[in-house]
C-alpha cells in the first residue's frame, strides 16, 4: 500500500534509551491518524523523526514521497507542524508572527490568510498582543494557525487541544475533520483517548517505542469495544509482560 507517510524500521536511540524501536507504519492519504501512547512512549520523538527535526538511528521514513533524512527542509516546506510546546517568538505580536511564518513559507496575501485564522479561532482581539503576553490557550491557537497557514496537504500535530477550552476544542476538532474530509491528512499525537476516539479514523498504540497495535476506529466499533479499554489492555499487557 502506498502511503502519504511510510516508516520502515524507524528507530531512534538516545544513548542507552531506545525512544522509537523499529517502527514500520504506512498511513494513507485522507486519514485522521492518531498516534496514542502514554507519557514517554516516544510520540514526540516519532513526530520529530517524521518531520526531519531529528535523524533516525536506523530505518527510513518517507513523507509525501520525500525521504525525510535526505530532505528535511523539503518535508517541512510541504507539511504543517504543531510542536508539543508552543514557542512563538516573545516580542512579535500574534499578527506579526503569522506574517513572519508566511514570509518564511513564501506566502502572499498574508493579510487575508492571517485574518481568516483570527476569525476561525476567535482571537482577532489578540492579534496586536505580544506573543509573550498571550495566554497558553491563545498561543496554542496561534500555533494551530501557523501550521495550517499554507494549506498543507499533511499536518503533524502534537497534543493540539491540551490548552484549549471546550468551545475552542470543538472548533479545532470540527476544523480537523473538515480538513480531512476535503482530502487532507493529519498525524495526530495524543494521550487523550476520548478525543482520538471521537475524531480519528485510524490509530496506532505506541508504548516504549514500539507499535502495539495499528487499526481503525471503525474496527473497534464493529467489535463493540471502547478505545480506552482496548488501549489499557494493550499497554498494561505490555507493561506486565
Amino acid at each position: 500500500m502506498h502511503g502519504i507517510i511510510e516508516a520502515d524500521g524507524l528507530t531512534r536511540t538516545f544513548g542507552d534509551v531506545t525512544a522509537v524501536d523499529h517502527v514500520t507504519l504506512t498511513i494513507p492519504q485522507g486519514e485522521l491518524f492518531g498516534l496514542l501512547g502514554p507519557n514517554g512512549s516516544g510520540k514526540t520523538t516519532m513526530n520529530k523523526l517524521m518531520t526531519g527535526q531529528i535523524r533516525p538511528t536506523e530505518g527510513t521514513v518517507r513523507v509525501m514521497d520525500l525521504d525525510v533524512a535526505e530532505d528535511p527542509l523539503g518535508v517541512r516546506r510541504k507539511v504543517g507542524i504543531i510542536p508539543e510546546q508552543e514557542t512563538p517568538p516573545s516580542f512579535l505580536t500574534a499578527e506579526e508572527y503569522l506574517h513572519f511564518v508566511g514570509k518564511i513559507r513564501g506566502l502572499t496575501d498574508m493579510e487575508e490568510r492571517a485574518n481568516s485564522w483570527f476569525n476561525i479561532l476567535e482571537f482577532r482581539d489578540k492579534k496586536e498582543v505580544l506573543c509573550k503576553d498571550l495566554s497558553r490557550g491563545t498561543r496554542q491557537k496561534l500555533m494551530v494557525a501557523q501550521a495550517f497557514l499554507h494549506e498543507p496537504p499533511l499536518a503533524f500535530i502534537d497534543e493540539p487541544l491540551i490548552n484549549l477550552d471546550p468551545v475552542m476544542q470543538r472548533t479545532v476538532k470540527d476544523f480537523l475533520q473538515e480538513y480531512v474530509f476535503k482530502g487532507g491528512t493529519v498525524f495526530f499525537s495524543t494521550h487523550i483517548l476520548g478525543i482520538a476516539e471521537e475524531i480519528c479514523t485510524s490509530f496506532a498504540i505506541l508504548s516504549e517505542g514500539s507499535i502495539l497495535h495499528h487499526g481503525t476506529i471503525d474496527e473497534l466499533r464493529m467489535d463493540n469495544r471502547k478505545l480506552e479499554g482496548f488501549f489499557l489492555e494493550r499497554v498494561r499487557g505490555t507493561a506486565h509482560a
Binding site: 520529530k48 518531520t51 526531519g52 527535526q53 531529528i54 535523524r55 528535511p72 527542509l73 523539503g74 517541512r76 516546506r77 507542524i81 504543531i82 510542536p83 510546546q85 514557542t87 512563538p88 517568538p89 516573545s90 516580542f91 512579535l92 505580536t93 499578527e95 506579526e96 506574517h99 513572519f100 511564518v101 514570509k103 518564511i104 513559507r105 498574508m110 496586536e128 498582543v129 505580544l130 509573550k132 503576553d133 501550521a147
Partner: protein
Amino acid sequence: MRELFVAMLKEEWRIHSTMTGNLGFALFPIMIAGFTFMAAWILPVLPGIVPIDTLAFIVHALFALMGVMVGSFGIMGREFMNRRFGQASLIAYSSRSLPVSERRIFSVFIAKDVVFYLFLWVIPAVLGIAAAAPFIGLSPGLPPLLLLTFTLSFLEGLAIVFFLSTIYAHSPRIAGALIAGAALAIGGASLVGIGPAVLLPPYAFLLAPSALPLLASLVLIAVPGACSIVWATVDYPDATRRFPNALTGLVRRFRFFSNPWFVAKDALDLIRSEGGIAKLVFSFLMPLALIWVFLSVLFRFIPGISPLIVFAILLGVISSTTYNWLTEFESFSSYAFLPVDVRTVLMSKLQSYVVINIVSLAVLLAIAFGTGEAGLVVPAVLVFVSVSAYTLAVTVRLTGLYPSTMLYNARVFFTYIAAIAPVLLILIFSSIGHPWVAAAGVLLLPVAWILISRASLRWTVWEMPSY
C-alpha cells in the same frame, strides 16, 4: 531563608551548567585565576609605560562594569531563560506560589548574585594575582587589599543597577532623569577637575586606605541596595503590550538582505525587550565613551601610538558583544518545525549584526572627525570592520546561538581568548609608529568567512543531531 539562598545558588549553577556542562563551568574560575596570574607578570614592566594608578582605575572600573552586567542579567534573566529553555520558572519569580514575600525573595536574590559572582570572577582574579605576587615582588598585603577593593567596585556596580532597575519598575521617567542627572554630575565633576577617585571610592581606598573612601564605598553600596530591596516590585507578565504590525514595514526596509524577515524580527526583539533601545545607550555607547576617555589618557604616556587606531580595534571587539543581544531571546527550537535550517538563522544574525554595526561605525567616524584624527579614518574603519567580523566569526564558531552562556565554559572561553588576544596585540603593536599598518587587519576577513562557514555546519549538527 537559608534554603531559599541555597536553592537559588543551585539554580544559578544549573542555568550555566545546562549549556556548558558541569566540568566546563567549574573550570571557569580556575581559568580566570590562570589569566590574572599570567597578566600579573607584566605588572613590573608597566610602570615605565603607563602610570600604575591609571591601570588600577581601569581595572576597578571593569569590576564595577561587571557588577552592572551581572545585575542586568539578573533583571532580564526570565525573558532570556524563557526563550532558551521554554517556559522557565525561576525562584526569583515564584512569590505568587511560595509563602515568601517578594522583598525577601529579592533580598536573597541579590545575596545569591553577590556570592555567586564573587566566587566566579572576583576571588579567582585576586587569587591569580596573589599566586604571582611572590615572583614579581608584589607586597603580600596587596592581594587582600585588592580583594576588598575589587569586591567593593563590583558591588557598587551591582547595587547601582539594581537601584536603577527598581526605580525603572516604578517610573521609567524618574529612572531616566536619575541617569541623566548622574551623567551630568560626572561630566561636571570632570570639568571642574574632580578626579576618578571620587567616582569610584574603592579605587581611592586602594590608593590611600583610610576611613573616608571605605565609608563612601559602603554608602554607595548600602543605600542603593537597601532602596532597591525596600521598593522592590517583581515584574510579573500581567501587563499586556499591544503593537500594530511593524514587521511588514521593517521587512520592506531590510529588503536588500537575503533574510529580511529575520532581520526585522531581530530589530523588534531588540526594541521591545526589557531595556529597549536604552540598552544601546547604556550598555554600548556609554562604555565606548569611557573607553575613548581611558585611551586618550593612557596614550599620552605612549608615544607613537594612535588612540583612534587602538579604539577602532577595541571597538571591533566590543561591537561583537552586540551579538549577545541578537541571540539572547533566540532558540532554534522556535524554528525547528518550519522550513528553516540552522545556517539560515545564523546568517540572518550576521545580517542583523551588520545593521547594529552601523552605530559602531558612526561612533568611530564621529570620534575620528571630532578629535582631529580624520587623516587616519581609512585605516581605522578598515581595522574596525575586520576585527569586528573576525571576533564575531570566532564567537559564532565557538558559541552558535548561545554566546551568553557558552562563553562560561572554561574551554570555550580559553579558545575565545586565545583566538582573539594575539590578533589584537599584533594589530596594536604593529601600528605603533605606523598607524596605516593596522589596515592589514583586512587579512582577517577571509579567516572570518571560513570560520563562519564552518560554524554553520558545526551548529547544524549541534542543534539537529545527525543533520
